[in-house]
Amino acid sequence: MTTVVEIASAVCLIAGSSLSLIAAIGLLRFPDLLSRMHAGTKPQVLGLLLILVGVGLRLRDWTDLGMLLAVAMFQLLTAPVSAHMIGRAAYRHDAVRADTLVVDELTPTLDDVGKG
Protein backbone atom coordinates (compact mmCIF):
# COMPACT_ATOMS: atom_id res chain seq x y z
CA MET A 1 0.00 0.00 0.00
CA THR A 2 2.72 2.43 0.98
CA THR A 3 4.69 1.59 -2.17
CA VAL A 4 1.66 2.35 -4.35
CA VAL A 5 1.24 5.75 -2.70
CA GLU A 6 4.95 6.47 -3.06
CA ILE A 7 4.86 5.61 -6.76
CA ALA A 8 1.75 7.75 -7.31
CA SER A 9 3.47 10.59 -5.49
CA ALA A 10 6.61 10.20 -7.63
CA VAL A 11 4.55 10.21 -10.86
CA CYS A 12 2.74 13.39 -9.78
CA LEU A 13 5.98 15.13 -8.86
CA ILE A 14 7.71 14.24 -12.13
CA ALA A 15 4.68 15.18 -14.25
CA GLY A 16 4.32 18.47 -12.40
CA SER A 17 8.00 19.37 -12.79
CA SER A 18 7.90 18.48 -16.49
CA LEU A 19 4.90 20.76 -16.98
CA SER A 20 6.78 23.57 -15.24
CA LEU A 21 9.68 23.07 -17.65
CA ILE A 22 7.30 23.06 -20.62
CA ALA A 23 5.73 26.26 -19.33
CA ALA A 24 9.17 27.86 -19.23
CA ILE A 25 9.98 26.66 -22.77
CA GLY A 26 6.69 28.05 -24.05
CA LEU A 27 7.31 31.31 -22.25
CA LEU A 28 10.60 31.62 -24.07
CA ARG A 29 9.47 30.50 -27.53
CA PHE A 30 6.03 31.98 -28.11
CA PRO A 31 5.98 35.12 -30.21
CA ASP A 32 3.77 37.55 -28.31
CA LEU A 33 2.67 38.39 -24.81
CA LEU A 34 -0.75 36.75 -24.88
CA SER A 35 0.59 33.46 -26.27
CA ARG A 36 3.28 33.53 -23.61
CA MET A 37 0.59 33.90 -21.00
CA HIS A 38 -1.07 30.73 -22.25
CA ALA A 39 2.24 28.91 -21.93
CA GLY A 40 3.08 30.46 -18.60
CA THR A 41 -0.07 30.43 -16.57
CA LYS A 42 -1.83 27.36 -17.88
CA PRO A 43 0.41 24.27 -17.86
CA GLN A 44 1.66 25.87 -14.69
CA VAL A 45 -1.76 25.59 -13.01
CA LEU A 46 -1.88 21.84 -13.66
CA GLY A 47 1.84 21.48 -12.96
CA LEU A 48 1.61 23.12 -9.58
CA LEU A 49 -1.54 21.16 -8.67
CA LEU A 50 0.22 17.89 -9.55
CA ILE A 51 3.21 18.81 -7.40
CA LEU A 52 0.93 19.70 -4.50
CA VAL A 53 -0.84 16.34 -4.87
CA GLY A 54 2.54 14.63 -4.94
CA VAL A 55 3.66 16.42 -1.78
CA GLY A 56 0.32 15.67 -0.09
CA LEU A 57 0.62 11.96 -0.89
CA ARG A 58 4.08 11.95 0.61
CA LEU A 59 3.30 13.87 3.79
CA ARG A 60 -0.04 12.16 4.55
CA ASP A 61 -1.00 14.45 7.41
CA TRP A 62 -4.37 16.17 7.71
CA THR A 63 -3.01 19.52 8.84
CA ASP A 64 -0.55 19.63 5.95
CA LEU A 65 -3.22 18.51 3.50
CA GLY A 66 -5.38 21.44 4.62
CA MET A 67 -2.52 23.82 4.00
CA LEU A 68 -1.83 22.33 0.55
CA LEU A 69 -5.53 22.55 -0.24
CA ALA A 70 -5.43 26.25 0.65
CA VAL A 71 -2.49 26.79 -1.72
CA ALA A 72 -4.33 24.95 -4.51
CA MET A 73 -7.50 26.98 -3.92
CA PHE A 74 -5.68 30.30 -3.92
CA GLN A 75 -3.94 29.28 -7.10
CA LEU A 76 -7.19 28.35 -8.84
CA LEU A 77 -8.92 31.52 -7.67
CA THR A 78 -6.16 33.99 -8.39
CA ALA A 79 -4.57 32.66 -11.61
CA PRO A 80 -7.48 33.73 -13.85
CA VAL A 81 -7.69 37.14 -12.17
CA SER A 82 -4.04 38.02 -12.71
CA ALA A 83 -4.14 36.53 -16.23
CA HIS A 84 -7.14 38.67 -17.07
CA MET A 85 -5.60 41.81 -15.60
CA ILE A 86 -2.37 41.37 -17.55
CA GLY A 87 -4.17 40.40 -20.76
CA ARG A 88 -6.46 43.38 -20.48
CA ALA A 89 -3.60 45.77 -19.75
CA ALA A 90 -1.70 44.33 -22.73
CA TYR A 91 -4.64 44.93 -25.00
CA ARG A 92 -5.31 48.41 -23.72
CA HIS A 93 -1.68 49.40 -24.06
CA ASP A 94 -1.41 48.23 -27.61
CA ALA A 95 1.06 45.49 -26.75
CA VAL A 96 -0.68 42.91 -28.93
CA ARG A 97 0.90 41.88 -32.23
CA ALA A 98 -1.70 41.91 -34.95
CA ASP A 99 0.33 39.67 -37.28
CA THR A 100 -0.12 36.58 -35.11
CA LEU A 101 -3.88 36.94 -34.92
CA VAL A 102 -6.13 35.13 -37.38
CA VAL A 103 -9.22 37.04 -36.28
CA ASP A 104 -9.48 40.07 -34.03
CA GLU A 105 -13.01 40.87 -32.99
CA LEU A 106 -12.11 43.10 -30.07
CA THR A 107 -10.21 46.06 -31.51
CA PRO A 108 -13.16 47.38 -33.56
CA THR A 109 -15.39 47.37 -30.49
CA LEU A 110 -12.84 48.40 -27.88
CA ASP A 111 -13.93 52.03 -27.82
CA ASP A 112 -17.41 51.27 -26.56
CA VAL A 113 -16.53 48.50 -24.11
CA GLY A 114 -18.02 49.40 -20.77
CA LYS A 115 -15.68 50.61 -18.08
CA GLY A 116 -17.45 48.65 -15.32
Binding site: L21, A24, L27, L33, Q44, M67, T78, I86, A90, A95
Partner: protein, 90 residues
Protein backbone atom coordinates in the same frame (compact mmCIF):
# COMPACT_ATOMS: atom_id res chain seq x y z
CA UNK B 1 12.24 8.55 -3.92
CA UNK B 2 15.40 10.61 -3.53
CA UNK B 3 16.31 9.98 -7.18
CA UNK B 4 12.84 11.07 -8.31
CA UNK B 5 13.11 14.28 -6.35
CA UNK B 6 16.52 15.10 -7.77
CA UNK B 7 15.20 14.54 -11.29
CA UNK B 8 12.33 16.92 -10.51
CA UNK B 9 14.73 19.44 -9.02
CA UNK B 10 16.82 19.37 -12.20
CA UNK B 11 13.72 19.92 -14.37
CA UNK B 12 12.69 22.86 -12.20
CA UNK B 13 16.18 24.34 -12.23
CA UNK B 14 16.30 24.29 -16.04
CA UNK B 15 12.82 25.81 -16.11
CA UNK B 16 13.93 28.56 -13.73
CA UNK B 17 16.92 29.41 -15.91
CA UNK B 18 14.70 29.67 -19.02
CA UNK B 19 12.26 31.89 -17.15
CA UNK B 20 15.08 34.15 -15.98
CA UNK B 21 16.13 34.52 -19.63
CA UNK B 22 12.64 35.74 -20.47
CA UNK B 23 12.71 37.93 -17.38
CA UNK B 24 15.87 39.70 -18.52
CA UNK B 25 15.00 39.99 -22.22
CA UNK B 26 11.54 41.34 -21.48
CA UNK B 27 10.79 43.27 -23.61
CA UNK B 28 8.03 44.96 -21.61
CA UNK B 29 7.01 45.19 -17.99
CA UNK B 30 4.04 42.93 -18.66
CA UNK B 31 6.25 40.25 -20.20
CA UNK B 32 8.47 40.37 -17.14
CA UNK B 33 5.43 40.11 -14.91
CA UNK B 34 4.27 36.93 -16.66
CA UNK B 35 7.78 35.53 -16.27
CA UNK B 36 7.72 36.55 -12.60
CA UNK B 37 4.45 34.66 -12.11
CA UNK B 38 5.94 31.51 -13.57
CA UNK B 39 9.09 31.94 -11.49
CA UNK B 40 7.03 32.20 -8.32
CA UNK B 41 5.17 29.03 -9.28
CA UNK B 42 8.51 27.30 -9.81
CA UNK B 43 9.72 28.46 -6.39
CA UNK B 44 6.50 27.13 -4.83
CA UNK B 45 7.07 23.82 -6.62
CA UNK B 46 10.68 23.72 -5.44
CA UNK B 47 9.75 24.33 -1.81
CA UNK B 48 7.09 21.63 -2.13
CA UNK B 49 9.67 19.19 -3.46
CA UNK B 50 11.97 19.94 -0.56
CA UNK B 51 9.11 19.32 1.88
CA UNK B 52 8.42 16.00 0.12
CA UNK B 53 12.09 14.98 0.21
CA UNK B 54 12.58 15.61 3.91
CA UNK B 55 8.98 14.85 4.85
CA UNK B 56 8.43 17.94 6.95
CA UNK B 57 5.85 20.71 6.77
CA UNK B 58 7.87 23.67 7.98
CA UNK B 59 7.84 25.41 4.61
CA UNK B 60 4.14 24.95 3.82
CA UNK B 61 3.08 28.36 5.24
CA UNK B 62 5.61 29.95 2.88
CA UNK B 63 3.82 28.27 -0.02
CA UNK B 64 0.53 29.81 1.08
CA UNK B 65 2.06 33.28 1.37
CA UNK B 66 3.85 33.03 -2.00
CA UNK B 67 0.73 31.90 -3.82
CA UNK B 68 -1.09 34.97 -2.47
CA UNK B 69 1.63 37.59 -2.83
CA UNK B 70 2.53 36.65 -6.41
CA UNK B 71 -1.02 37.39 -7.40
CA UNK B 72 -1.07 40.79 -5.71
CA UNK B 73 2.15 41.69 -7.51
CA UNK B 74 0.97 40.96 -11.02
CA UNK B 75 -2.40 42.64 -10.49
CA UNK B 76 -0.83 45.86 -9.20
CA UNK B 77 1.69 45.93 -12.05
CA UNK B 78 -1.06 45.36 -14.59
CA UNK B 79 -3.09 48.10 -12.97
CA UNK B 80 -0.51 50.80 -12.35
CA UNK B 81 2.90 50.19 -13.89
CA UNK B 82 1.75 49.02 -17.30
CA UNK B 83 1.07 52.51 -18.53
CA UNK B 84 4.81 53.18 -18.73
CA UNK B 85 4.88 50.63 -21.54
CA UNK B 86 2.75 52.60 -23.88
CA UNK B 87 5.39 53.24 -26.54
CA UNK B 88 6.93 49.79 -26.36
CA UNK B 89 5.68 46.85 -28.41
CA UNK B 90 5.52 43.32 -27.04
Amino acid sequence: MTVVIWVCATLLAVAAVLVVVRLTTGPTMLNRMVAMDVLIAIVVAGLGLEAALNQHATTLPILVVLSLVGFVGSVSVARFAARDDKGERA
